[in-house]
C-alpha cells in the first residue's frame, strides 16, 4: 500500500511536470498557428524568432543596464521591426508562390536570424534573470517546479489574451477574415500586407514570451531554436489552424513524452523523448489526418 501511494504520487508528479513542459511547447506552437492561419505560411522560423527575441532582450538588458521590463518592451519593438522586414523583403516578394516555396523562404529566415542574432549579441550562453522563482513546491508529497508552474500560467494568460484579441477587436476580426479567405478579405478593404505585419508581430511577441520562459529554464542559447522542433508534433496533433489545438496538443505531447520516458524508456534503452512525440503524432494522424481540431480538408478535382 505504502509503495502504491508513493508510486501514484510519483506518477502524478511526472504527469504534472509533463503537462507544464507541454504548456511551454504550446507557447511555441501558438506562434506557428497564428501565422499559418493568417497567411498559410508554414513558418519554420518560429524557433529562430524565439531565440532571437530572447537574445535581443537579454542583450539589450546587458547593454543598457535597464530593468527587464524596459528590455522586454524594447524587444517587442525589435520583433515588430523584424515582422515589417520579413513582410517587406521576403513574403511581399513571394506573393502567390506555392506553400513549399514560402516554407523554404522561412528556412532562409531561420538561418539569417540564427546567424544575425549571434553575430550581434554573441554566442555565449546568457542567463535570463527576470526574478522568476526557481525551486520546487511541495504539495502533499508532490513536487512541482515553480518555474514550470509560472510558465503554465503564462501560457494560459497568453491564450486568453489572444482569444479576446481575435474575437473582440477590429484587427482581430480582420485577421480572422483574412484567415478564412484572402480574396474576400481584400475585397472588403482589408490590407493584406498590414495584416501580415500584425500577425508576424504577434507571433514575434508570442515567441518573445516563449523565449523568456525557455530562457529562464535553460539559459538563452542556440539550442533554444532546436526546441522549436518539438513544437511540430504538437502542431500536427492539434491541427495547424487551431489555437485550442496547439494548447491541448502541447499538453498531450508534453505529458505523453514524459510518461513514456519514465515508464517505457528503461525497456528500450532510454532517450526515447527525441522521437516519441513524433511517433505519437504520426500514429494519431493515421486516424485523423487533419489533427484534433484542424479544419477538415475537403478536396475537389
Amino acid at each position: 500500500m505504502e509503495t502504491f501511494i508513493s508510486d501514484f504520487l510519483f506518477f502524478v508528479e511526472v504527469l504534472l511536470s509533463g503537462l507544464l513542459t507541454g504548456s511551454l511547447y504550446s507557447l511555441i506552437a501558438l506562434g506557428f498557428v497564428l501565422i499559418f492561419k493568417a497567411s498559410g505560411v508554414f513558418n519554420f522560423a518560429q524557433g529562430a524568432m524565439m531565440l532571437f527575441a530572447a537574445l535581443s532582450m537579454v542583450g539589450i538588458q546587458e547593454m543598457l543596464g535597464v530593468h527587464w521590463t524596459v528590455a522586454f518592451l524594447l524587444a517587442v519593438v525589435v520583433m515588430i521591426a523584424l515582422a515589417w522586414c520579413v513582410e517587406k523583403f521576403v513574403l511581399g516578394k513571394l506573393v502567390n508562390q506555392e506553400p513549399i516555396i514560402l516554407f523554404m523562404a522561412t528556412i532562409g529566415v531561420t538561418f539569417f536570424l540564427d546567424g544575425f542574432g549571434q553575430t550581434v549579441w554573441g554566442s555565449d550562453i546568457k542567463v535570463m534573470d527576470i526574478g522568476l522563482p526557481d525551486g520546487v513546491f511541495d504539495v502533499g508529497g508532490i513536487f512541482i517546479d515553480q518555474l514550470e508552474l509560472v510558465a503554465g500560467g503564462t501560457a494560459a494568460v497568453m491564450v486568453l489574451v489572444l482569444a479576446v484579441f481575435f474575437n473582440k477587436t477590429r484587427i482581430g476580426r480582420a485577421l480572422r477574415a483574412v484567415a478564412d479567405d484572402h480574396q474576400a478579405a481584400m475585397s472588403v478593404g482589408i490590407s493584406l500586407r498590414f495584416i501580415w505585419i500584425v500577425v508576424w508581430s504577434v507571433a514575434g511577441l508570442v515567441g518573445l514570451v516563449a523565449g523568456v520562459m525557455w530562457g529562464s529554464k535553460l539559459g538563452v542559447q542556440f539550442s533554444l531554436s532546436l526546441i522549436a522542433l518539438k513544437a511540430l508534433p504538437v502542431l500536427m496533433l492539434g491541427g495547424f489552424t487551431s489555437i485550442p489545438g496547439a494548447i491541448i496538443g502541447g499538453l498531450i505531447i508534453g505529458s505523453g513524452e514524459k510518461l513514456a520516458e519514465i515508464y517505457l524508456g528503461p525497456f528500450v534503452g532510454g532517450a526515447i523523448e527525441n522521437w516519441f512525440a513524433y511517433m505519437l503524432a504520426m500514429v494519431f494522424l493515421l486516424f485523423r489526418p487533419q489533427g484534433l481540431f484542424g479544419e477538415k480538408i475537403i478536396e475537389r478535382v
Binding site: 506553400p99 516554407f103 532562409g108 508534433p233 528500450v268 526515447i272 527525441n274 513524433y278 504520426m282 493515421l286
Partner: protein, 361 residues
C-alpha cells in the same frame, strides 16, 4: 542553345522518344561524362577530389533521391538523413557478414553490398511511406521527422548495427572490387562517379516512364490521378521505395567512400534539411537541378569561409560561422525571389531565350 532540332528528322517512335533526341545534346552529355571520367581525375588536386568532388557526387545522388519523392511525387520528406543512415549501416552489416560455401569462406562483394544497402533502405522507406496514404502536405513533412529521429536513435541505441562497437562508430572495409583496391582519391572518385552516373541515368529514364508519369500525376492532384487509374498505394509507395533506394546508396557511399568511419550523427536532421535545400534551390522535378543544387549548397559554405581570409579580413572563427549562416540565409531567400522554381529553371529559360536569339520574333 546555339543549335536547333531543325533538320533532324525522326523516322521511328523509338528515335523520337530517345532520352536525348537532339544530336548536339548527345554530344554535350558525352563530353560532360568524358570530362568527369577522365579530365577531372587527371587534373584536379587530391584535395579537390576528396573534399569537394566526392561529397558533391554523393550528395547529388541523395538529392536525386529526394527529388524523386518531393519534386516528382510531391511528398515532402524531412527524413532523408534517416534513410541515408539505413544505407550506411546496412552496408556495414552486409560487408562484415561472412558466409561459408564448402571450405570456401567469403564475404559479399562491395558493389553488391552497396546495392543491397539501397534495397534495405527502400524497404524501410516503404514502411515509413505508409502514412503518406493518409497524411498530406506539411502534416506528412512533420510525420517524416518521426522516421529521422527514430532511425537516428535506433542506430545509436542498438549495438547490433555497429557490431557492438563501444564508441558506436563503424569503420568501413577497404573498397576492393575483383581484387582491385580503390585507394587513392582519384580511384575513389571514379568509384563514386560510376555509381552516380549510372543511377542518375536510371533516374532520368525512370521519371519519363509510366511509373514517373504516375508520380507526377499524384503530385499534381492525387484524387484526379486516382480517377484516371493510378493506384495511390502503388504510386506513392514506389516513389518512397525508389527515393529511399537512392538515399540508401548515397548513405552507403558517404560512409564507405567519403568518411570511412561513421557515427549516426553524420546523418542527423541537418543533413536532411541540407538535402531538401539542394532539391528546392536546384529545382524540384529536375535531375539536373539536383546536381546544381548540391553544388550550390556544398560549395557556398566552402566559398564563404574562404572569403574573409582571402581579402585579409581577420575575424574570429565563430564570428565567421555566424556570418556564414546569415549570408546563407539571405542567398536562399534571394534565389527563391529571383527564381522560385530553382536554378535548373534558369537554365531552361536561358536555353529557350538562346533558341530564338538573336531574332526573337
Amino acid at each position: 542553345m546555339f543549335y536547333r532540332e531543325a533538320g533532324q528528322f525522326k523516322s521511328s517512335y523509338k528515335e523520337d522518344q530517345a532520352i536525348f533526341p537532339i544530336l548536339q545534346d548527345r554530344i554535350g552529355v558525352g563530353l560532360i561524362l568524358l570530362i568527369a571520367f577522365f579530365g577531372i581525375p587527371l587534373f584536379a588536386s587530391e584535395y579537390v577530389l576528396s573534399a569537394v568532388m566526392i561529397p558533391f557526387l554523393i550528395l547529388s545522388l541523395a538529392a536525386i533521391g529526394l527529388n524523386i519523392l518531393t519534386g516528382y511525387a510531391g511528398q515532402i520528406s524531412l527524413g532523408t538523413g534517416g534513410f541515408m543512415a539505413v544505407g550506411a549501416f546496412a552496408a556495414y552489416k552486409f560487408a562484415t557478414f561472412s558466409f561459408m560455401i564448402g571450405q570456401y569462406e567469403g564475404t559479399v562483394p562491395i558493389i553488391i553490398t552497396i546495392l543491397l544497402a539501397g534495397v534495405m533502405a527502400a524497404l524501410v522507406g516503404i514502411m515509413f511511406g505508409i502514412p503518406s496514404l493518409r497524411i498530406k502536405g506539411f502534416y506528412l513533412a512533420v510525420a517524416t521527422l518521426a522516421s529521422q529521429f527514430f532511425l537516428e536513435w535506433i542506430f545509436i541505441k542498438v549495438g547490433w548495427f555497429t557490431n557492438y562497437s563501444p564508441s558506436g562508430v563503424i569503420t568501413a572495409p577497404p573498397l576492393e572490387v575483383m581484387g582491385y583496391l580503390f585507394d587513392t582519391p582519384a580511384e575513389k572518385y571514379l568509384f563514386t562517379l560510376g555509381f552516380v552516373a549510372i543511377l542518375a541515368m536510371a533516374a532520368k529514364n525512370l521519371v519519363r516512364s509510366h511509373i514517373g508519369r504516375g508520380w507526377m500525376a499524384i503530385r499534381d492532384m492525387d484524387i484526379a490521378a486516382e480517377i484516371i487509374g493510378f493506384k495511390p498505394l502503388n504510386t506513392k509507395l514506389s516513389a518512397f521505395a525508389v527515393s529511399s533506394f537512392f538515399c540508401g546508396v548515397a548513405g552507403a557511399l558517404w560512409a564507405f567512400v567519403y568518411l570511412g568511419t561513421v557515427e549516426p550523427e553524420a546523418f542527423n536532421i541537418n543533413r536532411s534539411f541540407s538535402i531538401l535545400f539542394m532539391v528546392i534551390i536546384g529545382g524540384m522535378g529536375s535531375i539536373l537541378g539536383s546536381f546544381i543544387g548540391a553544388a550550390f549548397i556544398l560549395l557556398l559554405p566552402i566559398f564563404l569561409s574562404n572569403v574573409p581570409p582571402m581579402i585579409g579580413w581577420d575575424i574570429g572563427v565563430d564570428l565567421v560561422a555566424h556570418i556564414e549562416f546569415m549570408v546563407f540565409g539571405v542567398l536562399i531567400i534571394f534565389f527563391l525571389i529571383v527564381e522560385p522554381h530553382g536554378l535548373a529553371r534558369l537554365w531552361t529559360i536561358g536555353k529557350e531565350k538562346l533558341r530564338s536569339w538573336p531574332f526573337p520574333y
